[in-house]
Structures are given as C-alpha cells and as structure tokens.
C-alpha cells in the first residue's frame, strides 16, 4: 500500500492507479437480515460513479455505511489511503466525504449561507476569543469563508438566495443548498443520494448541469445513487447495479444497459428508457 503517490506498484509488480475510495468485502446486517453482502467498490479521483437498483436494494445503506452512520459488520473502507472503517461520522466527514440526502435534510430555520458556513466547521480555527472580540484571525477567516461561499453559491446558481431562510425556498433550490453545503466541506469525494428525486423535468436538467459543472470545475469524484436511468446513463463513467444487497453487474453505461441480469432484475424485460 502506498500513501504518497497515485501511481504505484501493486501486487505482482504491475502499475496501477490507486483508488480514492475503496470498499472491500463490506457487509451489513440489520438483525438477521443481510442488507449489504460482500460489497466491493473502487472509485478513482475524478470519476463519476453510479449506483442503481430497485427499491430496498441497499443503496442508501451503502451510503450510510461509508459515511459512518452505520458501522459495517464486516469489511474495510479506505479513503485516500486511510482506513476509515468504524470511525465516528464527524471524523469521516472531516477526512473528506461530503454527502446529500434522498429526503432533504436541511436546518430549516437557518439561512443558505449559514448552511455553507457550518459545513466549514472543522476548518474554522478561531476560538471563543475570536468569536467575542472579532480578532484579525476571525476577520480573515470570515472573509475567506464569505468569498468561498459566494463563489460556491454562484457555481450552484443560488448566490442571490444566500440570506434566505431555507424553509422558504422552493424544492429545487433546497436541493441545491444541500449540494452547496456538501461541497463547502471541500470533500475529496461527493456522495449524492438521488439528487433529482421529486424534481420536475426542468429542475432535472438544471441539476444534471450542476453535477457536470461540479465535476468539470472541481474535478471532484462523485458517487451517486439515482432512480432515473437517463441521469445515470448520461452522467456516469461506471455504473454498479445492486439487488438484494448484492452487486449483480458493474460496467460502463452501455454494458449495463445490455446486461441481461440488469434488465431482468431492474429494468424490466421490455424497454430500456
């Protein structure tokens, strides 16, 4: 295992790219039910990876395991060469995993810019003295955060809403706030749980555009769960299909579309979107 270079020798002396996020043989049980079974994943820097599967296949569980909300029964999770299995969620987050949620999880009575600021929590280093007396350190950091927040909100297209309380915003904008909050942590990888859930066609196209822009401008690795196949097929480089906690297929969008197992388990026999 090498920590410092992305190109290194692995196994029998052949060259390979080290994965940014690597999950090895991860399993999780709820009571007696095996929700995730020996799950493997390797996401490289700058890759967009999709995870599809029917309802209850275990997709969100995998997100919850990676972000530390649940602790895996077995297996290892390695982020950028660091073992993060079983750590507390706030530590995993600080190591560089940002996430959005299937159902909106915003702090409803706080403003948009406060969401972005609070996600910088582990990077804010001025203490109580700074908070009380407005030391130069605080002013400097606050100015940096303001600027960062402004740029970020602009990229997501909600900079005009920065002082609005989120509960007053339309649904599509609230989804964008979640995205901005996750990005504000400057994660190494972004986990998106159904980013287009409940959106109308117009919002959907805008959201896809935002995801593309995040990928292009920040070069960020993205791992996304999606129900709408059009979205995954358009955005992702590689797709995994999950059914009853097992990965039944993995490959490029074309491979997935033509894989009989996927068609059988998930897409239905007749048509592929």
């Amino acid at each position: 295992m090498c920590y410092f270079v992305s190109w290194c020798l692995c196994g029998e002396g052949k060259k390979c790219i080290m994965a940014l996020l690597e999950v090895k043989k991860m399993s999780h049980e709820f009571g007696g039910l095996r929700a995730v079974n020996s799950y493997n994943l390797e996401i490289e820097a700058g890759q967009i990876r999709g995870l599809i599967g029917p309802n209850g296949a275990g997709k969100t569980t995998i997100f919850n395991l990676i972000t530390g909300i649940y602790k895996p029964t077995e297996g290892d999770i390695i982020l950028d060469g660091k073992e993060i299995t079983g750590l507390q969620p706030h530590k995993i987050a600080a190591f560089g995993i940002g996430r959005t949620f299937q159902n909106l999880q915003l702090w409803r009575h706080m403003t948009v810019v406060e969401h972005v600021k609070l996600a910088r929590y582990s990077r804010i280093s001025y203490g109580l003295i700074g908070a009380f007396f407005g030391t130069p350190k605080r002013q400097k950091q606050e100015a940096e955060i303001e600027e960062m927040a402004h740029n970020l909100l602009k990229m997501i297209g909600i900079d005009h809403l920065s002082d609005q309380v989120v509960t007053n915003l339309p649904y599509g904008d609230q989804r964008r706030v979640e995205m901005a909050r996750a990005l504000s942590m400057e994660p190494k990888i972004l986990l998106l749980d159904e980013p287009t859930a409940g959106m109308n066609p117009e919002e959907l196209i805008q959201m896809m555009e935002i995801i593309r822009r995040i990928h292009k401008e920040l070069g960020m690795a993205i791992f996304l769960i999606e129900h709408r196949l059009k979205v995954v097929m358009d955005l992702c480089h590689m797709i995994q299909t999950l059914n009853f906690g097992h990965v039944i297929a993995e490959g490029t969008p074309e491979e997935i579309q033509n894989n009989p197992k996927v068609i059988d388990a998930y897409l239905g026999r007749e048509s592929v979107v």
Binding site: T67, G68, I69, Q88, P89, H90, I92, A93, A94, I97, R99, F101, N103, Q105, L106, W107, R108, H109, M110, E114, K117, L118, A119, Y121, S122, I124, G127, L128, G130, A131, F132, R181, M185
Partner: protein, 307 residues
C-alpha cells in the same frame, strides 16, 4: 411612582435569577429536545460551590497569603465557580443523559429527577443538614436616587446577569459552536456528516447552562445569603416555567420570560398579600399559556423531523 420604581428594581433582580436558570433549560431543550430536570439542583450545587470558593479565597486573603480587594474576590469566585460547576453539568450529561439519548423522552425526564435527588441528598451527606451562610463578599451600600433605594448589590447582580446574557448571545451568534447548536435543534444525523461532533456540542451546552446556573446561585447567595440543599427545587420549577413561557429552545425567550416572571411575582406581591403571591402569579402565567401554548418565541410545531 417611587413605589413602582422601587419594585421595578426588585423585580429586575428577582428576574435575573430566573432568566439565568431558564437559559440552561432552554438551551438543553433546544439541542436535545429534553428538559434537564436536574437543572434547579445544579443551581443549588453552583451556589454551594460558590460558597466553598468564596470561603476559600476569603480565608486565603485574610491569612495574608494573597492581598485582594473585595470586588476581585467576588469576580474570582464567580469565574472559578462557573468553571467548576460546568464540569458538574458535563458529568450529568455524560453519565445521566448520553446513555439515554435514544431512549423514550420520559426516561430521560425521570433521569433528570433522579439526578436532582442525588445532588440534593449528596449535598446533605457531604455537608450535613444545616444551612450555610454565604460570605458577604461586598459591603452593602445603599444609594437614594430620587426616593428609590438601590443597593450596590442589586446593581451588581443585574449588571453581571445582563453581561452573561450578552456573552451568551455573542457566543451563539458568532462562534462556530453556537452555529452548530442552532443546527443541532433540527437534526442529529446530518450535522456529524458536516464534521461536527454531537457529543462535544451536547457537553458544551450542558457546561454553559450549568455555568450560568452557578452564576445565578452565587448572585442569589449574595442577595439572600442562606443556602440549603433544597433551595434549587422551587427555583428550578419556576425557571422551568419561564423557559416554557419564553418558548422552548429560545434563548431570547427564556431571558425575557425570566424577567417577566420576576416582574409578575414582585408586582403581585406589591398589590396582594404575599401569601397569595405564587397563587396569583402562576394563575396569570397559566392564562398566558392557554392563549399562547408554545410560548412567546417558541415554534408552533412540536414534532421535528429526523432522518
């Protein structure tokens, strides 16, 4: 008119105690959605710790080990006692509430009552069943302002209380911990994913609430210098009423309602016989709550969604 202003001064002092204690109830409710029913007893513990610290510092000063003016002894007593009492709060959270964080709310409420009894009886066991006299740290001076009598103690008590409230306001508005506390009112699942440790924030909230209660205890000891182990019960309940009246989880609400409670009690006693004071005062508050069940600044919904 003079009579009115005289009572206004008294009400401000009386309300300061309620407000400082109510803040602790409200802050804890704001982040954990439970009322820490041991909080009144933490006020008592704070007063006793203040008594210990004040006695200690005065003894040192009288031995000539250190030479300190009286006001400095007072300031030191308040700071050291707030610091020490905050650890009592952290301990209560760690041992009493954290293991029950996912338990039904009723269990946590009962835990609070039990911790309260433990603190009261623990104090009895430690110091015996006698009242203690809070050392008078500052000489009382009375000023006559246009017929209204104001003591320096009253000014100090109200002043220190307001200063602490202002400091709390700054803390919540301007520090990252304060921002995390406000977010914690909405969820406990997403916040850690943004790098915030829920346990740290919970411990910090208990520490701050307890420190404020300790300040209230010391100020109370200066105004009414007799302490007993059960002094926290009635005071705790009344401050709890203030927290509800202000609106659960609202810091501004708890402060204002604390003062309002002081005003109502003092002014009722001004008009009616003092034996009827609490009867009438709390009937008035019951009436207010009938029309405004979620308090002045509370949110009308009671159930908050969690992931």
């Amino acid at each position: 008119m003079v009579f009115f202003f005289q009572n206004l001064i008294n009400a401000l002092q009386w309300g300061s105690f309620y407000a400082l204690i109510a803040l602790g109830y409200s802050m804890v409710y704001g982040i954990l959605m439970l009322f820490n029913f041991a909080h009144g007893d933490i006020f008592m513990v704070g007063a006793y710790i203040g008594f210990g610290v004040a006695t200690g510092v005065t003894a040192l000063a009288s031995l000539g080990a250190i030479v300190l003016p009286n006001w400095l002894i007072l300031v030191l007593t308040i700071i050291i006692s707030m610091f020490l009492t905050s650890f009592v709060g952290i301990l209560v959270e760690r041992l009493g509430y954290r293991p029950l964080r996912e338990a039904p709310r009723a269990s946590a409420a009962i835990t609070g009552l039990m911790i309260g009894i433990i603190l009261e009886t623990g104090n009895l066991a430690l110091l015996g069943a006698r009242r203690v006299r809070f050392p008078s740290l500052i000489e009382s001076t009375t000023y006559n302002i246009g017929g209204v009598y104001v003591t320096n103690k009253k000014i100090m008590i109200v002043g220190v209380s307001l200063m602490l409230m202002l400091a709390l306001h700054q803390f919540v508005r301007r520090s990252k911990y304060g921002m995390a506390m406000r977010a914690m009112a909405f969820d406990h699942v997403v916040l850690p994913l943004m790098g915030v440790s829920i346990n740290t924030i919970a411990a910090m909230t208990f520490a701050i609430g307890s420190a404020l209660a300790a300040a209230a205890g010391i100020l109370f000891g200066i105004a009414y210098p007799v302490l007993d182990p059960y002094m926290g019960i009635v005071f705790g309940w009344k401050a709890f009423v203030a927290a509800i009246l202000g609106g659960r989880g609202s810091i501004l609400g708890a402060t204002l309602a604390g003062f309002l409670l002081g005003f109502i009690e003092i002014f009722v006693a001004m008009i009616f016989p003092s034996t009827l004071r609490d009867f009438i005062a709390y009937s008035i508050i019951l009436l207010i709550l009938t029309f405004r069940p979620h308090g002045f600044f509370g949110e009308p919904y009671s159930a908050r969604l969690r992931l």
